[in-house]
């Protein structure tokens, strides 16, 4: 079991992404990286920055960073802990979370909404993968 928001959790996430044929098929032309930010609040005492670099259906890097300036990813998704938990457990659809502004998607210096919209299936597979991770939650 991996504790949410730790390097151990991101190691498992990377492993699971790289084992997923469905993700590989859906994201075979995707090139781009993300920060997944868990906002401060509840059991989260300081913001958690997860960096994930996705390239042609594979995950090249997944790590917890302490300095936000370490990377300048194309996309940033930010949400409170309880929303991330619901998304990861597939109790809340990640697109519905965005629409209702329970989570926020921000484009970095190179990212565009048009680009990310073309990979809906891949995004869905990334969420399917989180649901498969045996996670120790923070609350």
């Amino acid at each position: 079991m991996a504790r949410f928001g730790t390097q151990e959790w991101y190691d498992v996430y990377m492993e699971e992404i790289n084992k997923s044929n469905a993700y590989e098929e859906a994201a075979k032309t995707w090139e781009g990286d993300f920060y997944f930010i868990v906002e401060k609040g509840g059991p989260v005492k300081e913001q958690i920055f997860g960096y994930v670099d996705l390239w042609h259906g594979k995950c090249r890097k997944a790590e917890i960073v302490t300095d936000r300036k370490q990377y300048n990813p194309e996309f940033i998704i930010s949400a409170p802990y309880h929303i991330w938990k619901r998304i990861c457990l597939k109790q809340l659809d990640s697109t519905q979370a965005l629409i209702t502004k329970q989570s926020r998607l921000m484009t970095g210096s190179r990212g565009t909404m048009a680009k990310i919209m073309r990979y809906t299936k891949a995004a869905n597979e990334l969420t399917n993968i989180t649901a498969r991770i045996d996670t120790e939650w923070l609350d």
Binding site: A26, T95, Q96, I99, T100, L105, T107, M113, A114
Partner: protein, 390 residues
């Protein structure tokens, strides 16, 4: 948390007279040249004139409006600085109006940034009205904006929840002259939106009601409106059905028929309603073949509409048969081949069709999410008119 939103709906005889009640000084009308030529914009501007509301018309909207056209409109609306933006026309004009009111408030953005990730607060400047001249897209009751990126023939599903029109006016005068072909094309969109919105995985009891009534009315009144355009009762019922279908799928999302239809429309410029209606029965069969949950929902629609009774699977297949029979009755294509698309060209475009359909949000709001292989099979079966048997 989820939301249900819809505009103030003004409907029935003389509904356009509501325009004399609105508060404002300047209206920016977004439409196309054909609507202008038919005199439909004049029915609106006459009302605005009566209460001394100035207006300007932007009539450059083409079917499936491009990002370039919206950029032109952005300049025009920015110069005019209206306090109302009114889309008059089919889905293209209404969607364009939604995009332009956002860009009025945020001229720093490009049209493809009209999305949920931005905040527009456009009501500090202007309000949004939609007046449909077709009974189809339901755009008057949704916040969705579909624009076309002509650089790679792709439809972009944009929009923000702010984009729900403040007012939708459904006046039968605006649709009574609609030609049979457009009545049929747009009417199939109603059927598709109602059924797909009802069975969507995002659907709830809040969205099911509008979907059921929309489907029932469309099955009953679409053939009548198609055969006799002067049948005002049929026209009114189809207007209402279109808006109800928008209230359903606009709050719950459409499904695979729309994903495949969007892809076909983007590549081959098949009209939206015709394209999504064509794929609807095939994608319904695909879902029936592996999802008891969706099969049960199709069955509920069939029973409600008086199409069949009995076991779920039997009723669901009866609903598929009803969709095909309706399409046939109103002269719609039953296969991609019927659209006049050459097989060799279609096969060549297959990777692009699959990729486009795969990445529509509507592909993941169904109970059986297809991958590339299954989408390829669906496209091939639909070309030949073969029922989905996998």
């Amino acid at each position: 948390m989820w939301t249900f939103s819809c505009p103030l709906i003004v409907y029935g005889d003389n509904a356009l007279e509501y325009l004399v009640q609105i508060q404002g000084k300047k209206a920016f009308i977004v439409t196309d040249k054909n609507i202008l030529k038919l005199g439909l914009t004049k029915l609106v501007t006459d009302q605005l004139d009566a209460v001394n509301i100035q207006w300007e018309i932007f009539d450059e909207i083409e079917p499936e409006p491009s990002l370039n056209t919206i950029n032109k409109g952005k300049i025009a609306v920015g110069k005019y600085q209206p306090d109302w933006v009114i889309g008059i026309g089919g889905g293209s004009c209404m969607d364009a109006a939604k995009a332009l009111i956002c860009l009025l408030a945020r001229p720093d953005l490009e049209p493809d940034a009209v999305s949920v990730i931005e905040t527009f607060n456009f009501r500090e400047k202007a309000r949004l009205m939609a007046i449909p001249t077709t009974s189809g897209t339901g755009s008057e009751a949704t916040w969705a904006v579909v624009l076309t990126d002509t650089s790679d023939n792709r439809k972009l599903g944009l929009g923000t929840t702010e984009d729900m029109p403040d007012v939708a006016i459904l006046d039968p005068l605006m649709v009574v002259g609609m030609p049979p072909q457009i009545t049929a094309d747009t009417g199939m969109d109603v059927v598709c939106q109602a059924i797909e919105g009802y069975v969507s995985t995002w659907g709830t009891s809040i969205t099911e009601g509008p979907g059921l009534i929309a489907a029932q009315r469309a099955f009953e009144y679409l053939p009548k409106a198609y055969k006799n355009g002067d049948d005002l009762d049929a026209r009114k019922e189809m207007q209402n059905a279109a808006t109800l279908s928008g209230m359903c799928f606009g709050n719950s999302m459409a499904g695979l028929g729309h994903s495949c239809g969007h892809a076909l429309g983007a590549v081959y410029h098949v009209p939206h309603g015709r394209a999504v209606g064509l794929f609807l029965p095939y994608t319904m069969e695909y879902l029936i073949n592996s999802s008891e949950e969706t099969t049960a929902k199709y069955a509920k629609i069939a029973r409600f509409c008086g199409i069949a009774s009995g076991a779920d699977k039997e009723c669901a297949h009866a609903l598929v048969a009803k969709v095909r029979a309706l399409a046939k009755e109103i002269g719609q294509p039953l296969s991609v081949k019927d659209c006049g698309i050459a097989k060799a060209q279609y096969n060549e475009s297959m990777p692009g069709l699959i990729e486009r359909a795969l990445n529509e949000v509507m592909t993941i709001t169904v109970t059986r999410v297809p991958g590339e292989e299954d989408l390829g099979k669906i496209f091939r079966h639909a070309y030949e008119g073969k029922s989905i048997d996998f």
